[in-house]
């Protein structure tokens, strides 16, 4: 044990490195999702309508969280002394991205519900060019429950 941290496991008494890494990944991922959605033209995933402001947010959030993460503690620590091993880093990276995705689709579904009122006939991510995530998801699930026999055919062919 070092500084009251757990040894080699995330779920110990307050592994601050794990919590800080998770927060930094989540904040960075929100920014990265904004950048990716902006470049992919997925308006349903954008917080703001201005492309410039979106891309600025997409750059500032990851940079700020990296600076915050490294400036607020000693991060190069062995996993035997309270650091994170590669499996823990991978798990927290996944959880941070998942959190950022849920946050992004929830907030953007609310703020864009009045803006995107004329969705195109597309499926999957492509529908997010002109629709919000939750509306697109509802549309996709309804379509699947109604027409699943016809729709499953192409999934078993190239």
């Amino acid at each position: 044990m070092a500084n009251g941290q757990s040894v080699g496991c995330i779920h110990g008494p307050m592994n601050t490195n794990a919590i800080d890494y998770y927060i930094a990944v989540t904040v960075s991922a929100v920014g990265v999702l904004q950048l990716a959605a902006s470049f992919g033209g997925l308006r349903g995933l954008l917080f703001l309508t201005s492309p410039l402001a979106t891309r600025l947010i997409g750059l500032i959030l990851p940079l700020a969280s990296v600076v915050w993460f490294f400036a607020t503690g000693t991060r190069n620590i062995s996993d035997h002394l309270g650091g994170l091993n590669s499996n823990q880093v991978a798990l927290l990276f996944f959880l941070g991205n998942l959190t950022a995705w849920v946050l992004t689709v929830t907030v953007t579904s609310i703020v864009n519900s009045g803006r995107l009122t004329d969705p195109q006939q597309a499926v999957g991510l492509s529908r997010l060019r002109s629709d919000t995530f939750y509306r697109a998801l509802r549309h996709s699930i309804r379509r699947w429950t109604r027409e699943w026999r016809t729709l499953t055919k192409p999934y078993f062919s190239e």
């Binding site: 890494y21 930094a24 990944v25 960075s28 991922a29 990265v32 999702l33 950048l35 990716a36 959605a37 470049f39 992919g40 997925l42 995933l45 990851p62 990296v66 993460f69 490294f70 991060r75 190069n76 620590i77 062995s78 035997h80 002394l81 650091g83 994170l84 590669s86 880093v89 991978a90 990276f93 991205n97 499926v123 999957g124 991510l125 492509s126 529908r127 997010l128 995530f133 697109a136 998801l137 996709s140 699930i141 699947w144 192409p154 999934y155 078993f156 190239e158």
Partner: protein, 193 residues
């Protein structure tokens, strides 16, 4: 050959202390967190930022193959660690160490295997992004020598394992072929692809 490896290591590691701010930055860049996050986020961007449906499908299959390739590379590193152990440079040499003291085998460098594997897999589906990420992986590898945790040959072998892992994943793609595309199509139902 071992002498050449040591000589290159000592030359590069000997630059530590020349510019203290650079040493501080190297500590950030070489950490277990930053380069892996950059490569991971590049997969997220590649997944989302396709043009038309066909391009997006090709890139998303590429992302899945990158993950399969990285898993294969990690397995190869795991196997080689069971067969072969090399001490870290700070065990045998007088080193300027800017990192903690890892206890696993110095060769092959598992970070190089993972990063070069991911970067080469991305290069397969997006040349420009792949080249940029290969540069990130190369910088990370150089800094692992600079900060005193690896010999240069550890990183070369690690990088080769990463590239071989990805190449093997693409060779195996013929066997599992409809599966990656089916996984992407299934994710489309949940508007995730």
């Amino acid at each position: 050959m071992a002498n050449l490896d040591e000589a290159i290591f000592l030359r590069i590691n000997g630059w530590v202390g020349t510019i203290p701010a650079l040493d501080h930055l190297a500590g950030w860049l070489v950490s277990d967190y930053l380069a892996s996050a950059v490569l991971g986020f590049s997969l997220v961007v590649l997944w989302l930022a396709g043009g038309d449906d066909k391009t997006r499908m090709r890139r998303q299959v590429g992302v899945l193959m990158a993950l399969v390739g990285m898993a294969l590379a990690s397995w190869l590193v795991f196997v080689s660690n069971g067969l072969f152990f090399r001490d870290r440079p700070f065990i045998d040499l007088d080193v300027n160490l800017l990192f903690y003291r890892p206890t696993d085998s110095s060769m092959p460098a598992n970070s190089a295997a993972a990063f070069f594997g991911l970067a080469s897999a991305i290069w397969w589906v997006h040349r420009r992004a792949g080249m940029a990420l290969l540069a990130v992986a190369g910088l990370h590898a150089f800094l692992r020598v600079y900060t005193g945790v690896h010999y240069p040959s550890d990183l070369v072998v690690g990088a080769l394992i990463g590239v071989v892992g990805v190449a093997s994943a693409y060779r195996l793609k013929g066997l599992i072929d409809p599966l990656p595309a089916m996984a992407v199509k299934a994710a489309r139902i949940l508007c995730l692809a």
